[in-house]
C-alpha cells in the first residue's frame, strides 16, 4: 500500500462537454469540495481539455458555459488547476486560449499528481 499520498482529492476530468454531463459533474464536484473547505486538485486530461475552449456559447442548447464556470474557480479559492500539455497541443489550445489559472503538465507531472493524492475521482 502506498504511503506517499496526502489526504487531498484529485478530480480528473476527461470528457468534453456538452455531449455528456460528466464534465459538468466533475466541475461541480471540485467546486462543492472547495466550497466545504476541503483540499481539491483538478486535472483536465485528454479530451477534457476541450472544456477550456474560450468563446463557448451554449445558451441555445440549454447547458452551462463551462468555460465561464471554470473562470469562477478563483472565487472558490481554486486558483490553479492542471492541464494535460500534450492534449492541449493536440487540440490547438494556445496560451491565450487558456485561463490564467491553468498550469500545463506533462505525463511525469501527471503521475506525480496521482502519487500525491489519496483519493482520485475520475470523470
Amino acid at each position: 500500500m502506498s504511503t506517499t499520498a496526502d489526504s487531498g482529492v484529485l478530480v480528473v476530468t476527461r470528457h468534453p462537454q456538452p455531449g455528456r454531463s460528466l464534465a459538468r459533474a466533475a466541475l461541480d464536484t471540485a467546486l462543492a469540495t472547495a466550497a466545504f473547505d476541503q483540499p481539491v486538485t483538478l486535472l483536465f486530461l485528454g479530451a477534457g481539455v476541450l472544456q477550456l475552449l474560450p468563446q463557448q456559447d451554449s445558451a441555445s442548447v440549454g447547458v452551462r458555459n463551462l468555460r465561464k464556470v471554470i473562470d469562477s474557480m478563483p472565487l472558490y479559492d481554486l486558483e490553479h488547476y492542471y492541464v494535460d500539455a500534450e492534449a492541449a497541443e493536440h487540440f490547438g489550445l494556445t496560451a491565450e486560449d487558456l485561463p490564467s489559472g491553468a498550469m500545463l503538465v506533462d505525463r511525469d507531472a501527471q503521475r506525480s499528481l496521482f502519487d500525491n493524492h489519496q483519493h482520485i475521482l475520475g470523470f
Binding site: 501527471q110 493524492h117 489519496q118 482520485i120
Partner: protein, 96 residues
C-alpha cells in the same frame, strides 16, 4: 495504485491509461476493456511494457467470449480477487 479500465480498444482513455501506468501499479480490465487482453490484438504489449501487474475480471472475460484467448501476461480474477486488489492499493483511478 489500482487502475480499472472498462473502455473498448481504440477509446482515447486507453492511451491515457497506458501512458500513466507504472511498474508498481495494478490494472484490472472490466466490461468492454476485456477485449484489450485479446492475445491477437497486441494492445496489451504496451501494458506489459509498463511493468504493472495485469488482471482481467473473469465474469466479464467469459461474457465477452475472450476467456480462452487471453494474452499470457494477464491474471484472471473473480470478484474476491477484485476486492483484494482494492485492498492492496490505497488509490484507485477508474478509466471508463
Amino acid at each position: 495504485m489500482l487502475h480499472t479500465l472498462s473502455c473498448a480498444p481504440g477509446h482515447p482513455a486507453v492511451k491515457d491509461c497506458i501512458a500513466l501506468l507504472r511498474a508498481n501499479d495494478a490494472l484490472l480490465l472490466l466490461g468492454d476493456g476485456v477485449y484489450i487482453a485479446l492475445q491477437h490484438s497486441e494492445d496489451w504489449l504496451a501494458l506489459q511494457q509498463s511493468g504493472a501487474s495485469l488482471h482481467v475480471l473473469d465474469a466479464d472475460a467469459r461474457a465477452a467470449g475472450v476467456r480462452q484467448r487471453l494474452a499470457a501476461c494477464f491474471t484472471v480474477v473473480d470478484d474476491d480477487g477484485f476486492v483484494s486488489l482494492t485492498e492492496q492499493h490505497a488509490q484507485q483511478m477508474a478509466w471508463y
